[in-house]
Structure formats: C-alpha cells, structure tokens
Amino acid sequence: MNFLLINFFLISLLLVTTFFIFKTTSLISVVALTGAFTLLCSAIYVNLDAVDVAFTEAAVGSGISTILMVMAAAKLPEGKKNKLINLFPSIILAVSISLILIIIIANLPLLGDPNAPIHLHVVPEYLKESKDFFHIPNVVTNILASYRGFDTLGETIVIFTAGLGVIALLTSNTLNRKTNFKKNNKKNER
C-alpha cells in the first residue's frame, strides 16, 4: 500500500512537471525542468526496485543530457511567446491515444503480480543459474554483459554513430545554405 502511495505521488509530480515544461517559454527553465523530470523518474525506478536503471538515469539522463542541453541553450536565443500551432488536431490525437492506452492497460496483468507471463519464461533460469556461471550476484549485470552481450555491442555502435553524426553536424561548413540564404535575404531587402 505504501509503495503504491509513493508511486502515485511521484507520478503526479511528473505530470505537474510536464505541464510546466509545456507552459514555460524560457529555454533555460525548460532545460532545468527536464533535469528535474528525469531525477523524479529515477526516484520512481528506485521505488520499482530497478536500482541499476535508477543509477543510469540519474547519471546519464539527468546529468549528461542536462549538461548537453544547457550548452545548447546557452548558444540559442530566448524563446518567444508564440501562439501554439496545430492545437485542435493535437488535442484530438492526444485524447484518442490516451483512450487506446487505457483500454490496453486494463487488459494487462496487475502491477506486481508474480504470476504474470513476463516473469515465467526465461527469467527464473537467469535468476537461478547466473550466479554459478559468472560469480556476480547482480543479475542485471550478468544479462547485460553475458546473456545479451551482443545487444550491448549494438548499443555501443549506435552511440558511436550518433557521436560521429554530432561531430559532422557541428563542424560542417559544406552546407552552403548560409551564404546563399543571406545573399537572397539581402536582395529581398533591397
């Protein structure tokens, strides 16, 4: 019961944070609120017994990504208070998607049910055997590095590609768009 109460409280805090991110126009406060959002998420993970995920979220999601966003927001101009676009269709989309999700969630097993199908397939073997195989008590580490090692390799490749993409984007001067665009603008002004 206590667990559910804490969870409910944290999730309502998340909703409040989302609402304020939606409302604010100043970029730096949007970034700060995003950091708060991910930190709240890591609190939820601790509550849901996912300590490894909480570590990663606090370090990577709340640390590194907030730093990146602050660096970006420092170079960008202040946000302006503009009218919202596509307001009506997006309300319809949001309401219909949340209805579909609620219908689907009603069909899922209850939260914390130990006999749900997700807990019955390969996981009992992982929990039983992994300590004898690898001598590491943390099952998450065992699965991440051994049973699903290729997934982690793929993840590293994805991050490497993303890093290459960021470097290519930030250093490229070959886009040529800027010069053309400025010339055209000057012509128009004349």
């Binding site: 970029l27 966003m69 101009p77 997006s90 130990p114 997700i118 929990l127 998450v140 699903r148 930030l170």
Partner: protein, 104 residues
C-alpha cells in the same frame, strides 16, 4: 507520454520539441520498468536469503535504451544548433516565412 507528444506537436520552438521527445521516451521507460515489478520483491541482486526478485530483463532493456536516448537527443540538439546557425532563429513559423520569402 501523451504530454510529451502534445509538446512535440504544439510547440514552435525546436529545442522544446527535442525536450518533448525526451519526455516521451522516459514515459515509455517508466511503463517498461513498472511491468518488471513484483510485489514484495527486491532488486535483482542475489543474496543468501531466498527472496522474490523483480524481473531483471526489462531493466537491462531500459539500461540500453536510456543511453541510446541520450545519443538521440544529442543528435537532435546538434541539428537545432545547425538550424540556428543557418537561419538565426529556431521558431518554426519564422523559418517557414523566411523560406517563403526566398522562394519568391
């Protein structure tokens, strides 16, 4: 999650769209981790006592996904910076009107 989608569609500022994407992702992560919860279970670190443990498999998936998500948002931020260098604005409407001007 729907809130994140809503921000992506309705905001004009590109940085806010990237933030909306991050919120969307994080909501899906919370959903995944909530599937792994077992009542009265503990974190999946084996001890000598016989306990019920939470399901470690979604945790592993989400660990991978969080890191990939940060890579995605870094790429998105780099794109936004490049757009700002070329157009000197990151508001969608202004870019549209500038484009229309140059076409004429």
């Amino acid at each position: 999650m729907v809130g994140g989608l809503f921000i992506i569609i309705t905001s004009q500022n590109y940085l806010k769209k990237v933030v909306g994407l991050a919120i969307f992702q994080t909501a899906v992560f919370v959903f995944f981790v909530s599937l792994a919860k077992v009542l009265d279970g503990t974190a999946p670190i084996l001890t000598k006592m016989e306990n019920a443990y939470s399901n470690p498999l979604p945790h592993v998936l989400i660990l991978t996904a969080i890191v990939v998500g940060v890579a995605t948002s870094a790429l998105g931020l780099a794109l936004v910076l490049q757009i700002y260098r070329n157009y000197e604005t990151i508001e969608e409407k202004e870019i549209q009107s500038l484009e229309l001007k140059t076409d004429k």
